[in-house]
């Protein structure tokens, strides 16, 4: 029973982890906390719904169209909306992304209405059943798919950031934009790339979660809040931190839901996180900022 809950927690947590990852990448390179992140992904889920259920395209093709759309939305939001106002205060930036959230919600309502739209799982076969003495673990195939895709994305991203010259250039921009420019790095290109990556990850998260939540304008609300929490728990600037943060929140949430109260699972897990952050304000893997004076 407890193993079953931990496995389920890891799977929910892996979704929180990639949402956190998408937020952190955009934040590190451009310094914007994107409160519209989940809703940008939601639009991609609707694009998938339109391609697959309304137009009748192939599942995989619709999937990739939706991801491509997500990366385009990421690019367009950064280039068109946030770049022109880069010099305003971070707080104003947050307000702009909150405004964008409302706009995206309104657009989705206008185009697709308020109905809960269903999209099917990609894999519908028999679940994977593991038996061992004292217990049984059941994992639906869709959840295995989520786990596999998320793991692959995380590994690809870490390799990209650590091993390629583009990844290093992006980290240089994240640390010191002015100097990165003087070293010949096109920082505006790096900002665009970071938002393209962030946007496609957001779309991917929405598509993976859509069969469970259904597609509707607020479908990403919970995932976005938990993604933010995971990022904060991980230190908001650390990529391994986001992953560990996401997965631990997933596990805590599932255990609280099973053993304490289903209704209170979000409340309880957020309370635990507040407690962790009181003890360690910089997050699990964040670095405490020491400054010479």
């Amino acid at each position: 029973m407890v193993f079953q809950q931990i496995i389920a927690g890891i799977i929910t947590g892996s979704l929180y982890a990639i949402v956190a990852l998408g937020l952190v990448i955009a934040y590190k390179v451009t310094g914007v906390m994107n409160f519209a992140y989940g809703y940008m992904g939601m639009i991609s889920a609707y694009i998938f719904f339109t391609c697959f259920s309304m137009v009748g395209m192939n599942y995989i093709l619709s999937f990739f169209i939706a991801i491509a759309f997500g990366s385009f939305v990421g690019y367009a939001v950064e280039r068109g909306l946030l770049r022109p106002v880069r010099n305003i205060s971070p707080a104003s930036m947050v307000i702009i992304t909150l405004g964008l959230l409302l706009v995206l919600e309104g657009v989705a309502l206008q185009i697709w209405g308020n109905n809960y739209q269903q999209i099917p799982n990609l894999l519908n076969g028999l679940p994977l059943i593991l038996r061992f003495n004292g217990g049984i673990i059941v994992i639906p195939q869709q959840n295995l798919l989520i786990l596999g895709v998320v793991t692959a994305v995380i590994i690809a991203l870490i390799l990209y950031l650590n091993l390629t010259f583009q990844g290093k250039a992006m980290r240089a921009v994240a640390q010191n934009e002015e100097i990165a420019k003087l070293m010949g790095i096109n920082s505006s290109l790096m900002m665009s790339i970071s938002w393209i990556i962030s946007g496609s990850i957001g779309a991917l998260a929405a598509l993976l979660v859509a069969p469970q939540t259904f597609v509707y304008p607020d479908m990403m609300l919970n995932l976005q809040i938990m993604g933010f929490t995971a990022a904060v728990l991980g230190g908001f600037e650390s990529i391994p931190g986001s992953i560990i943060g996401g997965i631990s929140i997933g596990i805590i949430e599932n255990l609280v839901g099973t053993y304490i109260s289903t209704n209170l699972k979000t409340t309880f897990s957020l309370a635990i996180i507040v407690a962790i952050l009181i003890v360690k304000p910089e997050g699990l893997l964040g670095s405490a900022k020491a400054r010479r004076v």
Binding site: K168, A169, R171, Q175, N176, A180, L182, M183, G184
Partner: protein, 256 residues
């Protein structure tokens, strides 16, 4: 002449930091820019490397630096260091030096993914030049350490290494000797002169340590209150009355 600055002005919201400044830097010379604190020396360099907006022209081998986007400056052969060390602190020394070579990379992302031959050969060349520079500056054993863990003097060497590895024609050093003791200064001076000779680099240096400025410079430009007040060889500058006034205050004022 490698760099020719004409009528450079920088204004910060009404404050005129640099006013109608002109200066020529001869090819392969060691040119120093000196002046009291707040004279606008660093602002001139910041304008040249497009860190601050400015008016005027600064032709470097046919390119007007003041009209270029900042990330193109290094491609025409201008690299610089900073007064207050601007390194990528969380990255290793190796990564910092590597970033100095990024602008020259001509393989693309796919070459890296598929590990093609052009990628491999260029990668090994880059690695070689990193090791060569690190060896020359005596920082080879720190290559895998994060910059933030190194002492100040070593960090300075890393910053110089990062600028030199981009193979600049003009290297701009902003107070490279500040905060070093006599022994360290002497060593750094030798390193800089050696690198200058080895790669035939032109150096433009801002510095307060007059002993060093006088011993290395071919030509010195003196600034005060955002304007050029004198220019010439070290011996000419020593005898210049205006320069003495700028540094020591107007003596006639005290007499009266």
């Amino acid at each position: 002449m490698i760099l020719s600055i004409k009528a450079l002005s920088v204004k910060f919201k009404g404050l005129i930091a640099v006013n109608n400044f002109s200066m020529d830097v001869e090819k392969e010379s060691f040119h120093s820019l000196i002046g009291p604190n707040g004279a606008g020396k660093t602002t001139v360099v910041n304008a040249l490397t497009r860190v601050v907006p400015s008016t005027g022209t600064a032709f470097f081998e046919g390119f007007d630096l003041l009209k270029m986007p900042p990330h193109r400056i290094i491609n025409v052969g201008v690299a610089r260091t900073f007064q207050n060390l601007e390194l990528f602190k969380n990255l290793t020394v190796m990564a910092n030096l590597f970033i100095g070579t990024i602008h020259k990379i001509n393989y693309n992302f796919l070459d890296e993914v598929f590990n093609t031959r052009s990628y491999k050969s260029e990668q090994s060349k880059t690695l070689q030049s990193i090791i060569e520079i690190a060896e020359m500056l005596g920082i080879k054993r720190y290559l895998n350490m994060p910059v933030s863990s190194l002492p100040y003097g070593t960090q300075k060497l890393v910053e110089i290494g990062r600028a030199v590895i981009s193979r600049p024609k003009l290297l701009i050093l902003d107070e490279p000797f500040a905060g070093l003791n006599d022994q360290e200064s002497e060593k750094l001076k030798e390193e800089i002169l050696r690198i200058k000779g080895l790669y035939a680099i032109t150096i433009l240096m801002i510095e307060h340590d007059m002993k060093i400025v006088m011993s290395v410079s071919n030509k010195i430009t003196v600034m005060n209150f955002g304007e050029k007040i004198a220019e010439g060889s070290p011996s000419e500058i020593i005898q210049n009355r205006k320069v003495a006034e700028a540094y020591l205050g107007d003596r006639s004022y005290f007499r009266s």
